[in-house]
């Protein structure tokens, strides 16, 4: 289906008759309508939906143009018309929806509806289609339409986590429910034939059919088990691959964490040693407090030593000894003397020169003490110097370790401490579970083959039995055909579901890579057997919940483009406000690539959206562009020529 034109008469703000043709060329497949907010983009979008599917007319009072209503004569019946011309599979059609209003005061009262679909053959002959809605549904079903005609601002809803719109879209667009219904109807009809055979046949035949059904039910159950096993294996395989990625990352991080732990332990040890040194330095410093006396002590020692060198200290004759000689009046040689003798005067002079014993002893002791003090102080100073040096070395070592810890922490990042053994054990568990599941799967497949052989045996017996009752042969043959058809469609359904899943998955990724930026952040797009869409990031983790609204819009667009390409439905994609959430390189990518991915693209954009970024990519593919001009309450569609 490609839209060719739209004609509106008094529809909302489009006064009287207005017309626009859509570009349908393969290399010029884009038609753009632009205008400022409120000029009629959404009304035009509504007009398309209303004409083809009768939707968007919830507020019918506003469907009829206000100016036309104002000009209408009281009681006059006035039509609101939207006609759309389109081509589908080389046949042209015109869909036209009309709603008649009658002016009653200031109100427009609905007076009837018409919907026609006219087919035009190659000779220009027209033919009215008897069931226009049914025909349109066969061209583009109403439940599929919403995935092709949509509001860009709400587009991201499609891929919002937690909703089932993706699943519904796949099923509706790929017409999967049609296969489901065909399968169910064939199964039901098979049962009906069997019941009839059982009613008309012998007891033995009844028993054989019951046995056959029992085998068939067993097969169904085993197949369901296989399906369940496949889902479980798929989940477990995913877990194993996630755990392996985590393990690989963790081993690397684990090594870094081990190194960091070693450095932290080293820092603790060095800090303890440094603190002990600080305490020891403190104690040593306290012990060398006389250091400030050292200079004075040295001076005193110099004076004393000088006195010693001069022979003044110690004095030659002790004071007590001289006093004793003077008191006795007798020399050490035995000669006596008196107070007026020359000898006495000599002794007196010697006595005067002599230092008092106490002082002299003190000076000598002081000399000894100062000498000892100096030696001890020097030793302690040397010790203090050594400790200070060691303290400095420890401080530098600590600083070095801290730098290494910081560096390792930066490399480790925000990764939490992981337990590698635990991860490995979990991986082993999943691997074991996969192994057992696959064993079980193999056993089930064997059982199915055995049951199938048993069914063949029963069918043979049934055939013999049915031959005995001629009238049952026809019925039996019909039942066999119904059963085989039912089995065939069941097999086809399984294959088709799986192939659909795989193709949508890979096509969505292909388109997503073209439209998105930072594609290196997104590793793959997965669609599981239940059609749940997931985006896997470069760390192999699901990230659909973390996508921004703009990224979700890109994912939605990718999905829709993939569906449009795969479904075989040649439907136009009509987007109202398509670029509101996009900017920069993403907008450029979308503008450049989207037209190539779709059969026809019709855009309703605001003047802001119709920016340099979007124009540069789109304009080479635009075949028609229109501007909505709003004046005096009505909108006029003006074709814009290309400069």
């Amino acid at each position: 289906m490609r839209l060719q034109f739209i004609r509106l008469i008094n529809f909302k703000q489009f006064y009287k008759e207005q017309y626009a043709s859509f570009s349908t060329e393969d290399d010029l497949k884009v038609t753009v309508f632009f205008g400022i907010t409120g000029t009629g983009k959404t009304s035009m979008f509504t007009a398309i939906n209303w004409c083809l599917y009768g939707t968007g007319d919830e507020n019918t009072g506003e469907l009829f143009n206000k100016q036309a209503l104002d000009e209408a004569i009281e009681g006059q019946k006035c039509p609101v018309v939207v006609s759309i011309g389109f081509r589908h599979k080389s046949i042209e059609y015109i869909a036209e929806r009309v709603r008649y209003f009658e002016k009653q005061g200031q109100e427009a009262v609905v007076k009837g509806n018409e919907f026609t679909l006219t087919q035009i053959d190659s000779l220009g002959q027209t033919k009215l289609i008897g069931n226009p809605s049914g025909k349109l549904d066969s061209i583009l079903p109403a439940n599929v339409r919403e995935y092709f005609f949509f509001n860009g601002e709400k587009m991201e809803d499609l891929t919002k986590p937690g909703n089932r719109k993706i699943e519904d879209a796949i099923k509706n667009i790929m017409r999967l429910p049609t296969i489901d219904r065909a399968q169910k109807h064939l199964q039901d009809i098979t049962k009906e034939y069997r019941s009839e055979i059982q009613r008309k046949g012998s007891v033995k035949l009844d028993q054989l059919i019951k046995l056959q059904e029992q085998y068939e039910n067993d097969i169904v159950q085993l197949k369901q088990e296989i399906k369940h096993i496949d889902t479980e294996v798929s989940k477990a395989t995913k877990q194993v691959s996630e755990l392996e990625a985590l393990l690989e990352e963790s081993r690397e991080v684990g090594n870094l964490q081990t190194q960091r732990n070693q450095y932290n332990r080293q820092i603790s040890r060095l800090e303890m040693e440094r603190d002990n040194l600080a305490q020891s330095i403190f104690e040593t410093v306290n012990k060398v407090y006389p250091i400030n006396l050292a200079n004075n002590a040295q001076k005193a020692l110099q004076i004393i030593n000088s006195q010693v060198r001069k022979g003044k200290i110690p004095s030659g004759i002790k004071e007590d000894f001289l006093k004793e000689i003077i008191r006795k009046g007798e020399c050490i040689c035995g000669r006596s003397f008196s107070a007026h003798d020359e000898c006495y005067a000599t002794l007196e002079a010697l006595l005067n020169q002599t230092q008092p014993n106490e002082f002299e002893d003190s000076v000598m002791r002081l000399r000894g003490d100062i000498t000892t003090l100096s030696r001890v102080t020097e030793e302690r100073l040397a010790n203090l110097k050594e400790k200070t040096k060691n303290y400095q070395i420890k401080a530098e070592d600590i600083e070095d370790c801290r730098r290494r810890v910081d560096d390792l922490s930066r490399r480790i990042g925000d990764v939490e401490e992981v337990n590698i053994e635990n991860l490995e054990s979990r991986r082993e568990q999943f691997a074991r579970s996969i192994k057992f599941s696959l064993q079980k799967r193999g056993q089930n497949e064997q059982k199915i083959i055995q049951l199938q052989n048993s069914i063949d045996g029963v069918i043979k017996e049934r055939s013999e039995e049915e031959k005995k009752q001629g009238e049952l042969r026809k019925l039996s043959n019909r039942e066999a055909m119904a059963r085989k058809s039912s089995e065939a469609i069941t097999t086809i359904k399984e294959r088709f579901y799986e192939e659909t899943r795989k193709r949508i998955e890979s096509e969505t990724k292909l388109v997503f890579d073209k439209l998105a930026w930072k594609t290196d952040q997104f590793n793959e797009i997965r669609l599981d057997p239940e059609f749940h869409l997931e985006v896997i990031d470069r760390w192999n983790k699901p990230s659909r919940e973390e996508l921004s609204a703009g990224e979700r819009q890109i994912l939605s667009l990718s999905f829709i483009a993939a569906m449009a390409r795969l479904s075989g439905e040649e439907a136009p994609v009509i987007m109202d406000t398509p670029f509101a959430r996009l900017s920069g390189i993403v907008l450029q990518n979308v503008a450049e690539h989207l037209p190539d991915l779709l059969p026809q693209l019709i855009l309703f954009v605001t003047d802001q959206e119709w920016s340099e970024s979007s124009r540069s990519g789109l304009e080479p593919k635009v075949g028609a562009q229109y501007k909505f001009e709003f004046s005096d309450g009505v909108t006029t569609i003006k074709e814009v020529s290309f400069a």
């Binding site: 069931n131 049914g134 025909k135 549904d137 066969s138 079903p141 790929m174 017409r175 429910p177 049609t178 296969i179 219904r181 065909a182 109807h185 064939l186 039901d188 009809i189 009906e192 042969r473 026809k474 043959n477 019909r478 066999a480 055909m481 119904a482 085989k484 058809s485 065939a488 469609i489 086809i492 294959r495 088709f496 192939e499 659909t500 193709r503 390409r565 795969l566 479904s567 075989g568 439905e569």
Partner: protein, 65 residues
């Protein structure tokens, strides 16, 4: 590459002729009812007619067609 509807039809072509005829016609009927009608009235009867036509023809004329 076949689109998915073409792929589905290609699966039908792999079936043995009688079953292919039934399955293709049943699928076409299901699509017709899904696209044009709101209820499945008479659909099963039509499917039965297809099965009976093919089955009876086979019984009466063998695999001659």
């Amino acid at each position: 590459m076949l689109n998915l509807q073409e792929l589905l039809l290609s699966y039908f072509l792999e079936l043995e002729p009688d079953i292919q005829e039934i399955v293709s016609e049943v699928y076409a009927l299901e699509r017709e009812y899904s696209d044009y009608y709101e209820s499945n009235k008479n659909l099963k009867v039509k499917i039965k007619n297809v099965i009976e036509r093919v089955a009876d023809f086979r019984q009466d004329y063998g695999d001659s067609r």
